[in-house]
Every structure is written in structure tokens, then in C-alpha cells.
């Protein structure tokens, strides 16, 4: 498979030892990206959430039990499984920055990408989006509204990236050398414990570059070879172990 290398590679490091599962990232994401509210939300087969917080358990009985929360956006894989199966080139990874794109008007709703994505990060619009009367006045003008029949997913708030580059150009700075605070996705911005850190994985001045190399950092299903740009970290061995399929006697990454 051909892999395009990027000079700038936006990525996330989520410290699972800081996530309290409060859900602020999910709500902020919905509002930022114009995802229509639904009246039935607990059946996760029917909901549309670019960012979804999972509950993890160490599987032990009380009182040895431990719990952790895992926010899951799109992994923006280096070798995305989704874009290679798209018959209409509606999702690609070819823009500097390394964000997997999603071009709604091109999507024909075949959902191959959803089947291909190992992270369940892609969602299908089974219905036309409906906002309660008047609530459409709160639509964010940076994101288009998707109709029924279209697949969508987290874009690392790509519109914020575009705006940050534009601002940098206006100020005479290099748009390919953005500072950490120039471009922050909505979920990262609102996270009250600062569990999510965002930046350029290739820029040693950005926090993520260092955090991603931490002994405690891992990625989901790393050994599939999708090369995700979303990293997680936890000092808890059992949490890291759930990030991948380990053989019984195999050592967990970071041990």
C-alpha cells in the first residue's frame, strides 16, 4: 500500500488516567460539527457521534475492580483502511496535515468504509437530520449539514485547521508551522481535565510529539498496521492491555 508521508501530522494524545467520562467532548463535538440532536441516544447502533466515550473495566470483581473512560474520535490513520475501499474517492488522506478527509457530496453511501474501519469511527446518516424548531439558528457556519445516505466521521475539526492556516497567512506566518494554540479541535478545547492534548506529531516543540513517545503511550489495535495518529496513555497496565489483542503470556506494551 502506498503511504503518503507528511511534514505536518496532526495528532492527539489522550491521557486515560485523566478522563472522568464527563461527556463534554461529545457535546462540544456535536455542536461544533452540526450533528442533529436525537431523542433516543443510548442505543449506540442508532446514534451518530464522531466522538464517543467508552467505558473500560479491568474485569475484576469488587473490590479489585477498576474503571476507565476512553474517548474515541477518528484515529486519522496513517494507513487508513477506509480510504482505500472508497469507490468514489470521497475519503482520502492526501492533504498536508495528515487528516483523513470526508467529502460528503461525493459519498454514495455504500458504507464500505464503515465495514473497513476497525475503530467504528464512521457513522451513516440513516435519516435526514432534524433540529427542533428554531434550533437550526445555532448551526455552526463552518461545517455543512449532511443529508440522509451519507457517511461521516471526525475530521479533527478540519475547518479549524483551515481557519488557523488562513489566519497564519494573514499574519505573515508560515501556515505549515502552526503553534499548538493556533489549531485546537473542539473536544480538546473544552476537556475540563486537559486529558486530550493536540498538536503536530512531527513538531518536537509540540507536547504531543513527546507524549506519543512516552513509555505509557499506546494506540488502538496498533498491530493491525493502520498507524493511527491518535495516541492514548495510561499508567495502568490493564488499560493499555485493552488497546490491542495480546496473547495470554505476552507482555503489554510499556511493561
Amino acid at each position: 500500500m502506498q503511504v503518503k508521508e507528511f511534514k505536518v501530522k496532526w495528532g492527539m494524545v489522550v491521557d486515560l488516567d485523566k478522563c472522568t467520562g464527563c461527556g463534554a467532548c461529545m457535546v462540544a463535538c456535536q455542536a461544533e460539527n452540526n450533528i442533529a440532536p436525537v431523542t433516543e441516544g443510548s442505543n449506540k447502533l442508532r446514534t451518530l457521534t464522531w466522538m464517543l466515550v467508552y467505558e473500560l473495566s479491568n474485569g475484576k470483581d469488587f473490590p479489585e475492580h477498576d474503571i476507565a473512560y476512553l474517548p474515541r474520535p477518528c484515529m486519522q490513520c496513517g494507513k487508513p483502511s477506509c480510504s482505500t475501499v472508497c469507490p468514489v474517492v470521497a475519503t482520502t488522506k492526501d492533504e498536508e496535515g495528515g487528516i483523513v478527509s470526508q467529502i460528503y457530496p461525493r459519498c454514495i453511501g455504500c458504507r464500505y468504509c464503515m465495514a473497513a474501519c476497525p475503530y467504528h469511527a464512521r457513522y451513516f446518516n440513516w435519516f435526514d437530520p432534524v433540529w427542533p424548531e428554531g434550533m437550526d439558528k445555532t448551526l455552526n457556519i463552518s461545517t455543512s449539514v449532511r443529508p440522509r445516505g451519507v457517511v461521516e466521521k471526525c475530521t479533527f475539526c478540519h475547518h479549524r485547521f483551515a481557519a488557523a492556516k488562513e489566519k497564519a497567512r494573514m499574519e505573515g506566518r508560515d501556515p505549515m508551522h502552526l503553534e499548538e494554540e493556533d489549531y485546537i479541535p473542539a473536544c480538546v478545547e473544552v476537556c475540563p481535565t486537559g486529558a486530550i492534548v493536540f498538536g503536530d506529531l512531527n513538531n518536537p516543540e509540540h507536547k504531543v510529539a513527546k507524549l506519543a513517545k512516552s513509555r505509557y503511550a499506546f494506540r488502538l489495535l496498533e498491530r493491525l498496521g493502520t498507524d493511527p495518529q491518535v495516541y492514548y496513555m495510561s499508567k495502568r497496565e490493564w488499560v493499555r492491555r485493552q488497546g490491542d489483542n495480546y496473547l495470554e503470556n505476552e507482555k503489554t506494551k510499556g511493561e
Binding site: A24, A28, A31, D61, F62, D66, D128, G134, T138, T193
Partner: protein
């Protein structure tokens, strides 16, 4: 030359292949996919100039500073204000959904009058006339009462001044740990000022019940302090809540027994020779040392004595420890819980120290208003029981930004008591359960539409004052309640010495030494004043309460869990909060209660089975979720479900756990307590 079959097929195949080399089919396909997604019923983006307006959130008492992104002067999304000390750029799921609540289907669109069970629209003038008539007969008789769900707004001063002018002192705040602390600290211990916790500078935070990182106090600021953490966080409580999930250690303790655990710690700390100068210390110490012995505490709390000893040693060894006691779900504590927590801080010498327990001064702007800290000590549950007994007979009840019909323990009793009050006026933004039963509903604007403020939200570690500035004109016919009350006072000929609510707020700013313009521009005032304590007393007489044995009729402890994304005591699940509800919290119309394997086995319950929680106060229906996040003999139940009013985003989902919470009286203070309810779990 004729066209033979072979030639015809060659032409067709060749033609089909040939068109693929022209852009025509691709262009057509592109157009089709664009236009087939471009329907008139798909909402269009409404473009306009972008802007940011800072304000202060009033959806819960935490008082976060928000930055509201606007488009063409319309609020669009909410973010945390980076320069605000209580949000520091962070936000909770309710704040993140605040803008969309402007257009919630549950909003009250204008003044409503209840005409025999059906609401009809009236004008604000008519509403004023009706109320002026009602109240002119009340004037001086004191038969008017008020319930406020706004914990820290100056609006309370205006409302309380109005009530006082009508001769009534029946002003009640919705119960919370803020009111419980006011009672324990100010009334029982003789403390001055409002209690707060300087988490930022602490190196050992012991959360006794208080779900600090999930729902308690200044929650976003607590989470920020944790995010930049300097030391250990220990959570003590019956359920692995959001706080326990990230804490360095979770110590499971039965609901409402955190106070006993605290006194168990005190035992070791006293043994280590620690002391404090409060009045009655010797007697208090003696009682703790003889009655809260390790073996007894172990039996009552379920925590091994050795673990208690270890934590006591850690507290002593820490440089700047702080103990935060509170109810697991933010209300229902008695004075024992708070006194025990405060006592530990005193023993460790943490009062008014960096990273410790602080006492913060209050400031009032309305001269004719009674002291709000005093009003916080008024018990709403006492009032409800007084009305039930006939000891109090209010003719008119005002309800400001509160939903007592939904969010008080023993819901059935509250409903019957409210029925006894002949005239109820709800000042609510949304048609909640209480508004739906009111005689008049006078909508107060959404906080993005009004001027309001938050003074030192409960739990904050320093005096903090910030202002909500209107971001948009009211989208419905709503009027700020303080403005309406001032008009009403004018109509009744009552002089409150106030010209406008804005003047009250700017006077408050001036008293604090804050700049009114800067406050309106979204800057928070932070003060470093603390209140010196001169006459603290330790009430030994309350200590016997912790030794009470549990009820055997209702063998399972109920641990309600507050999760802001489901809603809070005054707000149902907002439209944008619905998807945050997990699969193990709600299934169709039923919500889950949570027990661990051992408890489920004992009760013969299986996953997804229908059960009823039955208490002395009432019952609720639920499904069973077996999870090891709950300690033995405890059933955890999320608050915030079971709404009967509101809208399709929250109505008819699950059941209301408040109805099952049972109040008991704490001896000898007479305070009502409901953080230790017990239930039976029966198959339904």
C-alpha cells in the same frame, strides 16, 4: 454496408467504453450526488459575521465563565473562557449544550396562566395585575414563601428583600451541600463566611463522598485543578464514579457513612497527638476516641481498619492535605458529614491555609435583603413538613429557577404538600414538572438572554465574582425575574430601595472593588480575602448519629449518582446531552440501576431483569445492570431520569430516584438527611 449483429455489439461496447474516457459521466455522477443531497428540508447554514461574547453559565451553581461563539449576533456554540478562574477554558457537558437550550422545545414561550389544568397565554401586565391582587391581601401577613434554585446569584437578594418587605422570612434554597455546609459551619460550629477548598495548592485531596471531579461544587475548576495535579486524589464513596475512575485510590464506603470513616481517620490523627483550638475539643476528642474505634468504624463502613490507619498516616505526612466532605450526589447530608470533614481539616491545621479549607467572605448589595448565608440555613424539607403538618400555611409560593416537584426527596410527599398551597408561581425558563403544576408560569430568560451573576460558587477556593451578560435578546416573551419583581413591588407600593437590577449588580461590584465594565466584558473578579475565625465550636452531641445501626427492613443501601450530562436538579437532559447517555444507563424507556455480582446473587437478580426499588418513601422501576463499580449491598442509581414534563429529549425516560430517597431526622440537630437511604430491591 449493413449493420450486422457483430458490428452492433462492437458499437455498443465500444461506445460504452468510449464514454468512460470523456468527463461526461463523471461530471453527471458528481452533479447527481451533489444535487441528490441538496434538499429543501435539510437545514441551511445561516451566514453572518463571527464574534465571541463572554458570559457566565447559570445552568448549575458552578459558575463557569463561557465564551459564546456568535454568528450574526446569534449564539452558536459555547466554549470555556480561558481567563475565567472557574472554567479556565474547560466546560461541562451542560455548558457545552447551553446555546442549543435557547431553542429547547421545553421552553416557556410567554407568561402562562393555569385555567383549570390548561395553560392559557396572558400578558406580563395581566400577570402583574393578578399577582398584585393576590399579594395586596398578603401584605404583612407573611403568608408568602419562596423556593430558589439559584445558589449564588444576586437575584436572591432582590427576591429576599421583596419577601421581607411582604413580612415573610420563608425563603428557601433548594437543598445542596452548600446549604448543608452553611448549616454545619455557620450555625452549628459558629463559623464565619462561606466554606471553600483551595484544591489548586493542595498535595493530598481526600474526597469524602463529594464527587469532586464529576458533579460536585465548582466541578470544571475541580477538574482543572486535578488535571494540573500536584499530588494525590483519594475518593471515598460507595460507587466508582467519575472521581473514583481517575483518583489514585478508591476507598469503598457505604452511602452516608463517609462521616464515620472521617471520624475513624480522626481517631488515628488524634492518637498521633494532633489537636485544634476549637471550643469543646477535649470533649469531642474523648467521644471520638471512645466511640469511633477502629473496629467499630470498620464494622460500620466496611473499610478495613488497616486501610483507615494508612490513609490517616498519609494525611499527616502530606504537606498540604485537604479533606472535602460532601454527599455523593451533592445533597442530603446532615451536619455530621460536614462537621467530621471540617474537624479533620482543623486537626491537620488546614483552616485558611494555602491548599486547605478556606472561609470566604460574602458581600451583599441590597441593604433591605436578609443575610443570604442565614437564608441558606433555612431547611426546605422542614418547611415542606411544616406545611404538611399545617404548622405553616403559605397562600402564595414563588419558585425561582427550581424544580422542587422533581428534585426533592420523597417526591410523593412534596407533591401532596404543593397541592395544599393555593397559589404557585413558577419563574422558570423551561416547562419543568413544577411549572407544569403552577398557577402562573412567568418565564425567566435563558441565561444567555439576561443579566445575572454568580458570587463565589460553592466550593471555590477564593472569592470569585463574574457576570452573565445578555448575548442575545430573549427569543421568547421572557422577562428577567428580578426586573419583574421590582415592577411588582412598584405596583404594590413596596420600596426595596432598588432602582434596577443592573444597579444592584454594579453596586455589588463596587463593594467588592471590582470594575463593572470589566465584569461585563467577561472578566472575573478574584479576591484573596479570607475570614478569620474566632469562636469555632465542636458539637459533641451530634457524634452519636454516626453510630446508628442500619434498617433491617430495607437491607440495601441506595447510592444515587449525579451525572451532569443526564441533567441536574433544575435541568433535564438537554437535546445535545442525549447521546452521551450510555447503553448501560438507559434502554428504551427503562433506566438501569447498578449492583455488583455478589449483591445480585444474594438478591437472585440477573442482568437486564426488571426490578423495583422500594423504600419507605416510594418506589421506582428499573432494569438491573451488574457491574463491579458498586460495593456490596449497595444499589447505585443515576439521578436525572424519569421526567414527566419537559420535552421528547428527556420525558418518559427511566424513573425518578428522588422519589425513593427517604428522609430521616438527624439527632439532635433535627436536620433532615437523605444521603443514607435504604431500599428493598424486588423483582418487578
Amino acid at each position: 454496408m449493413g449493420l450486422d449483429r457483430r458490428g452492433f455489439i462492437t458499437f455498443l461496447v465500444g461506445g460504452a467504453a468510449g464514454t468512460l474516457f470523456t468527463p461526461v459521466p463523471w461530471k453527471l455522477l458528481d452533479d447527481v450526488s451533489i444535487w441528490s443531497q441538496n434538499w429543501p428540508w435539510i437545514p441551511k447554514l445561516k451566514y453572518g459575521a463571527k464574534g465571541v461574547t463572554p458570559t457566565t453559565c447559570k445552568l448549575c451553581p458552578a459558575g463557569c465563565g463561557l465564551d459564546i461563539n456568535t454568528v450574526g449576533k446569534r449564539p452558536v456554540t459555547a466554549e470555556g473562557n480561558f481567563s475565567h478562574p472557574l472554567s479556565q477554558g474547560g466546560i461541562c457537558p451542560l455548558g457545552a449544550a447551553a446555546v442549543q437550550l435557547l431553542y429547547s422545545p421545553a421552553r416557556v414561550k410567554g407568561p402562562l396562566k393555569n385555567n383549570g389544568g390548561k395553560f392559557e397565554s396572558i400578558s406580563w401586565d395581566e400577570a402583574k395585575k393578578i399577582l398584585a391582587e393576590k399579594l395586596s391581601t398578603q401584605k404583612g401577613s407573611g403568608n408568602v414563601a419562596l423556593i430558589s434554585g439559584d445558589e449564588n446569584g444576586t437575584a436572591n437578594e432582590v427576591l429576599a428583600a421583596f419577601l421581607a418587605a411582604l413580612g415573610s422570612s420563608d425563603y428557601y434554597f433548594m437543598p445542596s451541600d452548600a446549604t448543608a455546609y452553611a448549616t454545619a459551619w455557620n450555625k452549628i460550629m459558629g463559623g464565619q463566611g462561606q466554606i471553600g477548598f483551595d484544591l489548586e495548592n493542595s498535595d493530598y485531596v481526600l474526597m469524602l463522598g463529594a464527587d469532586l471531579l464529576s458533579s460536585w461544587g465548582t466541578v470544571v475548576r475541580n477538574q482543572k485543578a486535578f488535571g494540573q495535579k500536584k499530588g494525590q486524589y483519594i475518593y471515598v464513596g460507595p460507587v466508582q464514579t467519575g472521581s473514583a475512575s481517575v483518583a489514585d485510590k478508591w476507598v469503598p464506603v457505604l452511602p452516608g457513612k463517609e462521616s464515620v470513616f472521617a471520624l475513624g481517620l480522626a481517631y488515628y490523627i488524634l492518637k498521633a497527638g494532633k489537636t485544634c483550638s476549637a471550643k469543646g475539643f477535649a470533649e469531642f476528642k474523648e467521644y471520638v476516641l471512645t466511640n469511633y474505634t477502629p473496629s467499630k468504624v470498620q464494622a460500620l463502613t466496611g473499610v478495613p481498619a488497616n486501610d483507615i490507619k494508612k490513609i490517616a498516616a498519609e494525611l499527616i505526612a502530606a504537606r498540604r492535605p485537604v479533606v472535602v466532605s460532601g454527599s455523593d450526589f451533592g445533597q442530603g447530608s446532615g451536619s455530621l458529614d460536614m462537621v467530621a470533614g471540617i474537624f479533620l481539616n482543623l486537626l491537620l491545621g488546614r483552616l485558611n491555609q494555602p491548599g486547605g479549607l478556606v472561609a470566604l467572605p460574602s458581600v451583599q448589595a441590597v441593604d433591605k435583603a436578609p443575610d443570604l448565608n442565614q437564608l441558606r440555613q433555612n431547611s426546605l424539607i422542614n418547611f415542606i413538613s411544616d406545611v404538611q403538618k399545617g404548622a405553616k400555611r403559605p397562600d402564595v409560593l414563588f419558585i425561582y429557577e427550581a424544580n422542587p416537584l422533581y428534585a426533592l426527596p420523597q417526591g410523593a410527599q412534596v407533591a401532596s404538600v404543593l397541592d395544599k398551597i393555593p397559589f404557585k408561581v413558577s419563574f422558570s425558563t423551561f416547562l419543568d414538572e413544577t411549572a407544569a403544576k403552577a398557577d402562573l408560569v412567568l418565564p425567566t430568560p435563558h441565561f444567555l438572554e439576561r443579566l445575572d451573576d454568580a458570587y463565589t460558587p460553592f466550593g471555590a477556593g477564593a472569592v470569585t465574582y463574574s457576570v452573565s451578560t445578555p448575548v442575545i435578546k430573549p427569543v421568547f416573551d421572557a422577562k428577567p425575574t428580578p426586573d419583574f419583581i421590582l415592577e411588582l413591588a412598584g405596583a404594590l407600593g413596596v420600596d426595596l430601595g432598588i432602582s434596577s437590577f443592573e444597579d444592584v449588580l454594579s453596586a455589588k461590584a463596587e463593594k467588592l472593588g471590582a470594575d463593572w465594565e470589566e465584569l461585563q466584558g467577561g472578566q472575573a473578579y478574584v479576591g484573596d480575602k479570607k475570614v478569620f475565625q474566632s469562636a469555632l465550636a465542636l458539637p459533641t452531641q451530634i457524634l452519636s448519629g454516626g453510630l446508628k445501626m442500619p434498617s433491617s427492613e430495607y437491607p440495601i443501601y441506595l447510592a444515587p449518582v449525579a451525572r451532569p450530562y443526564i441533567g441536574n436538579t433544575k435541568l433535564a437532559t438537554p437535546p445535545f446531552g442525549v447521546v452521551t447517555i450510555r447503553e448501560n444507563e438507559l434502554k428504551g424507556k427503562d433506566f438501569y440501576v447498578h449492583l455488583n455480582k455478589a449483591t445480585a446473587k444474594k438478591l437472585g437478580l440477573k442482568q437486564d431483569k426488571k426490578v423495583k426499588l422500594v423504600s419507605a418513601a416510594g418506589q421506582c422501576k428499573a432494569l438491573v445492570n451488574i457491574t463491579e463499580t458498586v460495593m456490596n449491598d449497595v444499589v447505585a442509581a443515576p439521578l436525572g431520569f424519569g421526567h414527566t414534563a419537559w420535552d421528547d429529549f428527556s420525558k418518559g425516560k427511566g424513573d425518578n430516584v428522588f422519589n425513593v430517597l427517604t428522609v430521616t431526622q438527624e439527632k439532635p440537630t433535627g436536620l433532615y438527611v437523605w444521603n443514607n437511604s435504604q431500599v428493598k430491591v424486588v423483582k418487578a
